[in-house]
């Protein structure tokens, strides 16, 4: 019986109506659909549920009355956000952090991968990889805790600088971005290099042999073979990164910032967190969050289209 089931071919000619096809598929793949059931329920509840819940952005949501009983206010919450004094600052801070991350954080793992690739001694190469991947696994709470400690007024950084007037790094808005982006690069540069090292590994070694025969030295090999070889990877990752310029995560910032540094540290997602979770201003913060989701979605679609045009491939 079971043998018959798998040998049974897919319908070649058009079946009379869709139901027999569906019924046959459901019977043949009943275990498959049983496996998919919890997965689909999970996505429905925890991903599509909040998408539906986002309608509170158009309401004056009252938790007691629920989504169905609350008053509809149209675009009022969005208008309030666009006309608030925070709007410009939040957009600017979000983009500023993203731009710094792209300018300094994006090339760093590429350069690291190129340097690691030039190492011939294998034990040393493995050591470099082991050590540089490690910070990726350290929790953000510990990273920020170390920042608070090292960059305190009496911390190691100030002791080494030994200025007459120590800098209160963590309380200064002008230092926030450097510390945030810098510590991010420190934590992720090694991990980020993995994907480039993998791309380098797929380059045909015959190309290097041919280049050597032609008398190309290491620098010319890097410039003419390695970099062009990983360029498609670089372009795709860069474009996707550009698609997320408007999303800066809140997790690290809410640990790092304080009212003294809001001026440069407060981004859209942290503002949503404060207004929504801390101040229970649900509809307004849901509107800000939805605005951000829509922008991110549009940017990503744009970035993907750009990627397809430039490299012939994208995310979909």
């Amino acid at each position: 019986m079971k043998i018959v089931e798998i040998v049974e071919p897919l319908p070649q000619r058009k079946a009379p109506g869709w139901w027999p096809t569906v019924r046959r598929d459901l019977r043949r793949n009943k275990h498959i659909y049983l496996m998919l059931l919890p997965v689909v329920v999970y996505y429905l509840v925890f991903h599509y549920g909040p998408m539906y819940g986002a309608v509170i952005a158009f309401q004056d949501f009252n938790p007691v009355k629920g989504v169905f009983g609350s008053k509809w206010v149209g675009l009022q919450n969005f208008q309030d956000f666009f006309s608030s004094v925070f709007f410009g600052r939040l957009i600017f801070n979000t983009v500023a952090i993203s731009v710094l991350e792209i300018v300094f954080g994006f090339p760093a793992p590429i350069i690291l991968a190129l340097l690691i690739n030039e190492l011939r001694a294998n034990p040393f190469r493995r050591l470099v990889q082991t050590v540089t991947y490690l910070p990726h696994f350290i929790s953000v709470v510990v990273i920020v805790g170390m920042l608070f400690d090292f960059f305190a007024r009496d911390g190691v950084a100030n002791q080494l600088l030994s200025l007459s007037d120590p800098i209160a790094f963590m309380q200064s808005p002008e230092w926030f971005r450097q510390l945030f982006v810098g510590s991010g690069i420190w934590q992720q540069v090694g991990w980020g290099s993995i994907v480039y090292l993998a791309a380098i590994a797929t380059i045909d070694s015959a190309l290097y042999e041919a280049a050597k025969v032609d008398g190309a030295n290491r620098f010319r090999q890097i410039w003419h073979i390695t970099i062009p070889g990983i360029l498609p990877t670089i372009v795709i990752l860069l474009i996707l990164r550009l698609g997320s310029v408007m999303s800066v995560g809140y997790e690290k910032i809410i640990l790092m910032y304080n009212p003294l540094t809001y001026e440069t540290a407060d981004v859209i997602s942290t503002y949503v967190f404060r207004r929504g979770v801390l101040q229970a201003d649900f509809s307004f913060s849901a509107a800000v969050g939805l605005f951000n989701s829509v922008i991110n979605f549009a940017l990503l679609i744009g970035a993907n289209r750009l990627s397809r045009r430039l490299t012939g491939s994208g995310l979909w």
Binding site: M35, F46, L115, V195, A198, A199
Partner: protein, 292 residues
């Protein structure tokens, strides 16, 4: 192949640079380790870098390990890591297996349904209201486990790995009367073990390091996972319950070493398992980068 002087200089410079980079990566943790093992009062007198503990003592560790909040934090985190990771890997494997089969009529629509959530989300606040209020998970550890039952990126990675399992093995098993569950657990998962190990690592470390859901959903301090306890100690500098027997003038000094010791206590388990799992995870990352 002979190398020119420029190339030899580059090779030496490269090794030197990467050595310095490794020191930059490791030294902050070494500093914390040395400081945690130092005498509190002498540490506050010390200026600049540390290259060994000053007047070695385990005092700070003694205080940290006697802190009931650290112990309950460890217990809660272990529960979340074990239960959460088991659920994660189970759900991800189910989805990855089902979506890697051929001849499943609704496979592509379901895949789209899932992948779409990577690109668009309802946002933090609707999720918060759903989990905390509609589903009443506020003040339970389930709020930290169930809403993150699986990650779409990991699903894609695992599906790619499952796709690579030879179809002939599956067909042979089916001839012997195996159903999909047997094939998944007896054939596909064992054959994809390196990637499954990476998933365990990614999910496990993710649970170990997570703090945000706990911050948002938990009020009861007995339920705090380790990272939330850490946050109080490191960032809010709350060390009161570990310094009750200390003269008030010394609280600040001992508080510093307690912070360092807490970092080590919370990070050590990851540092211990890291070398054993390292050989697996490069594979996981690169599989994730392969496009369909």
């Amino acid at each position: 192949m002979r190398e020119g002087p420029g190339e030899r200089l580059f090779a030496i410079g490269n090794v030197a640079f990467l050595t310095v980079l490794m020191i930059v990566m490791v030294y902050p943790l070494l500093f914390v380790l040395f400081a945690s093992l130092s005498n509190a009062n002498e540490l506050t007198q010390h200026r600049g870098l540390l290259f060994a503990p000053i007047d070695f003592t385990l005092e700070a560790y003694r205080r940290v390990l006697q802190n009931p909040l650290i112990l309950s934090g460890y217990r809660n985190t272990l529960f979340i890591v074990i239960v959460g990771t088991t659920l994660n890997v189970f759900m991800t494997a189910l989805g990855a297996y089902a979506l890697s089969r051929r001849n499943v009529l609704f496979k592509n629509p379901i895949m789209f349904f899932i992948v779409f959530t990577m690109f668009f989300s309802g946002g933090l606040i609707p999720s918060y209201l759903l989990v905390g209020q509609t589903l009443h998970m506020q003040d339970t550890l389930w709020a930290l486990i169930i809403p993150g039952a699986m990650s779409t990126l990991n699903l894609i990675i695992m599906r790619t790995a499952f796709n690579a399992v030879p179809v002939s093995l599956e067909e042979a098993a089916r001839m012997d009367g195996a159903n999909d569950w047997t094939i998944l657990f007896r054939i596909v998962i064992p054959l994809s073990w390196p990637v499954v190990a990476v998933m365990i690592l990614f999910y496990g470390v993710g649970h170990w390091n997570a703090f945000f859901s706990a911050l948002v959903y938990l009020r009861d301090r007995d339920l705090y996972p380790l990272q939330l306890v850490l946050r109080e100690i490191l960032i809010s500098s709350n060390v009161q319950n570990m310094t009750t027997d200390v003269a008030s003038g010394d609280v600040l000094a001992i508080g510093e070493t307690i912070k360092y010791a807490t970092i080590i206590v919370a990070t050590a388990p990851i540092l211990f398992v890291y070398p054993y799992l390292q050989r697996y995870f490069v594979k996981g990352v690169t599989i994730g980068a392969i496009k369909e």
